[in-house]
Point group: C2
Chain length 206, copies 2
Amino acid sequence: MQQSAQFSTRQKILGAAEALFAERGFAGASLRQVTAAAKVNLAAVNYHFGSKDNLIEEVFRRRLDELSRRRLEQLAKLEAAGDASLETVLDAFITPALELSLDRKGGSVFMRVLARAFAEHNSNLRTFLSDNYGYVLKDFAAAFARLLPQLDKQELYWRLDIAVGALTYAMADFGMIQRRSGESEREHREQMAKHLIHFTAAGLRA
Amino acid sequence: MQQSAQFSTRQKILGAAEALFAERGFAGASLRQVTAAAKVNLAAVNYHFGSKDNLIEEVFRRRLDELSRRRLEQLAKLEAAGDASLETVLDAFITPALELSLDRKGGSVFMRVLARAFAEHNSNLRTFLSDNYGYVLKDFAAAFARLLPQLDKQELYWRLDIAVGALTYAMADFGMIQRRSGESEREHREQMAKHLIHFTAAGLRA
DNA sequence: CTAGACTTCAAACGATTGTTTGAAACGCGG
DNA sequence: CCGCGTTTCAAACAATCGTTTGAAGTCTAG
């Protein structure tokens, strides 16, 4: 493990792949485009990751391990404090993603990559994500179930399904709302999170 | 397949392309896969559509022309009847898509193709859709603005943006909810539409 | 029945895809 | 300094990509 300039070859590839997957999709971004953007040799991908599919999985792993940890940590914290409400639980889910988005370069495009994964409906990717990170959604679903005891299981699942869609789409910034001039990226994202929590909480308890 | 005799080469290509674009994305589905599924010659795509990009646009045109017409027709009808509410306007938007989904083969996968288009954030595709069908969203936004006069423009746009995301993802059936055994596709879709309207209306007026 | 336009076909085009190769370059403990 | 494991490199692999070609087939108007 050697740092060449500032980032290792591995990290450079992961960063470039993340950006290009967000922009052109997994099939649309070639390894030659990725390695050119990362300024590394083409063969480096197969040397460090084995295959393009493994690279894709690693792009997710790099972000989702910590994102999942932080989300569950936030959730546990407010349940320990007896502070759980629809708004605070939604906040526990959204804020870690928001902070990731505001992290140094790459964080914001990752949410777009994640939304792409949802569109890859039949792929191994869904299985990979479900197998490795499904427990996060499960824990949050359980928290919502406790907060909405009047809803039967089916009703709850419908609403959570819709909520996940709204969150995924919004966090990927797929919508038409542009950042206003004179508004920082941070302010824009925080506005979005605020509206997202408000909207989704209302939808869940409707 | 008897369809081979019933549908023109053009229609067979459009149907196969729609299904494969839904499953593998625009870059992920090759023309050879499309023409093999359609059981037509490879060169037929370029003969009838000129290029893959034109084929993609035509896949949208075939469905969106009528879908847009029906949506605006429903909207106009209930405004003429003085029946406009958040629920009825949402219904005017959703029901035509629901009927399309329940149409004979192809309709249901098209909503998934449409959601894919949202993920193609930088592509010409977004421009094509916005230029040709943006007026539909504009008209619906105006209707919602009338129904939510207490919201300022910014606030309204945030909520509509989130609502569009929820609708797009749900109609594409990207979620985890599966059709229950003993439940028909129609029943499943109608349940979804019902919950979608309820959820989104609550979020909009929250 | 024939002429001419429309459609289909197999084959090939150059470009690009993911992956593999073997040698060169590198970093570091001895 | 040497030797050895790790990493990078240019080059090439077969496969597949979107597109084009010109001939063969199909259809209909006159």
